[in-house]
């Protein structure tokens, strides 16, 4: 990928990014709730060029039994990329990166879901990346929250997510694939707006202490925008009259 960096202008003299966005602008996000027949809850998200499908089963029986918890239900998350989702075909078996992202997303959702009322059960969240374009873990987390609510899993709040970062010495919101490869920092953030809690946070790159704080604040702006889109997706499925006469 090294040869491409020189050709990409991440930020031009007017402050416009390589894909035409301003520094504090997210890519286009659309979410649809309840797209699968079999899953208890589901959601499909398009976040820029990311296309991700989320399916939830549960609360349901846990197998093997020794994995179940007598005091509370457990949350299991599997983040997985399809072979055709990335530039060079990816082999179907789970990679170490996918396993780590699965864990990080699970820990972002655990503060939100309330499983004490379902001891000895599991809630399974399956996230399938059909097309990847930078920021898949945030988009996947956004879809997971909507799918969990669609399944009726009790939650204190929806978890929304968006990445901020730094490219061409400037803090930017919603890092795309090119900016991730050639930029200076990438910071995915997961957030529960109702409780003011950040539940996913990682950093790739170098930031000063001041940049770090501003970068989080910028990221939270993006998160809140996605939060509204998540809520509208659920409202559209459950609260709209739907009748077209």
């Amino acid at each position: 990928m090294g040869g491409r960096e020189a050709n990409v202008v991440l930020l031009d003299e007017n402050g416009i990014r390589s894909d035409g966005r301003k520094v504090n602008e997210t890519r286009k996000v659309t979410i649809k709730a309840g797209v699968l027949k079999n899953a208890n809850g589901s959601a499909y998200i398009e976040f820029g060029g990311n296309k991700i499908l989320a399916g939830v089963f549960g609360p349901r029986d846990v197998h093997p039994k020794h994995m179940s918890n007598p005091d509370t239900g457990i949350l299991r998350v599997r983040y997985h990329m399809e072979p055709f989702s990335v530039g060079e075909r990816k082999k179907p078996a789970p990679s170490r990166r996918e396993i780590e992202i699965s864990k990080v997303i699970k820990e972002a959702l655990e503060p939100a879901v309330m499983l004490e009322k379902f001891p000895r059960t599991a809630v399974d969240v399956f996230l399938e990346v059909l097309q990847a374009d930078g920021g898949t873990r945030c988009a996947a987390l956004d879809a997971a929250s909507v799918a969990l609510a669609d399944a009726g899993i009790p939650m204190r709040d929806l978890v929304c997510a968006c990445a901020s970062g730094k490219a061409a010495d400037t803090l930017i919101l919603d890092v795309n694939n090119e900016e991730d490869q050639a930029g200076q920092a990438d910071m995915p953030i997961g957030y529960m707006p109702n409780l003011g809690k950040i539940t996913l946070l990682q950093l790739d790159g170098v930031l000063t202490a001041d940049e770090y704080k501003k970068c989080i604040e910028l990221g939270l702006e993006g998160c809140k925008q996605v939060y509204e889109i998540q809520k509208n997706a659920l409202r559209e499925k459950y609260f709209s009259s739907g009748d077209k006469d």
Binding site: A39, A54, G55, V56, F84, E88, R89, F126
Partner: protein
Amino acid sequence: MANLSIIDKLKRSKILDLLQEGKRIDDRALDEPRPLVIDTGVIPHANGSARVRLGDTEIVSGIKVQPDRPFPDMGDKGIFMCTAEILPLAHPSAETGPPQPDVIELARVVDRGIRESGMIDLSQFVLEKDKSVIGLFADSVVTDHDGNLFDACSYAAVAAIITSKIPKWEMKDDIPVLIENQESDAPITTIPISVTMGRIGEFIIVDPNIDEWECLDARITITTNSDGNIVALQKGGSDGFTLEQLVKCSELSITIGKKIREIVKQATEGGK
């Protein structure tokens, strides 16, 4: 998928009762497949793609084309590989982990149906004989399972292959180098269409949905090409077929295959 050990007794006897009257639980005729919807180009970053809905079964198929080394004894042919996976979100009993025998069978049957038909002219995929060829990978994932994954995955892979764009590579110093903006259509010689039928008691039903699938005594998948010839077939299930039933199945696969081929052609015309 885990094998269901408890067969719902009520359901199987109800299905048989309906079949005696020439009916099925979703109101179809015995030789009627479910409505088929095909969308192509759904994964723009891949070389080709399609999403198929066969009734409530949903499959997404993506094509990746990239340079590869040829198989040792086939240096004058490109590589073609077909995989299939049932995603855990497709059904409550779908498992994660290494593929189970039924998923492996699914992938191999879909692969053979397309490969044996000679659908892709692999001789056009050679960059340097015995050294470097083009590989085309058709990966299908099941996102919603409502029975008959064999046909749904096959239609998705076929539609994705027909509408895929093959980039151009040139050999420079023994290494394939991509030439930008010189894509061509995939070299297609025929359109293979699979038709899956099941037997419950003495009745043959086409395109079983998941309720029927769980009650089948036996099933067969037959793939035909554009000339109406049979190119591949696979029998499955714990029971068998009589010769008469097998002949009937082959006839159904040709007539129904023809109709479905038209649907696939229409859906893939715009993509070219």
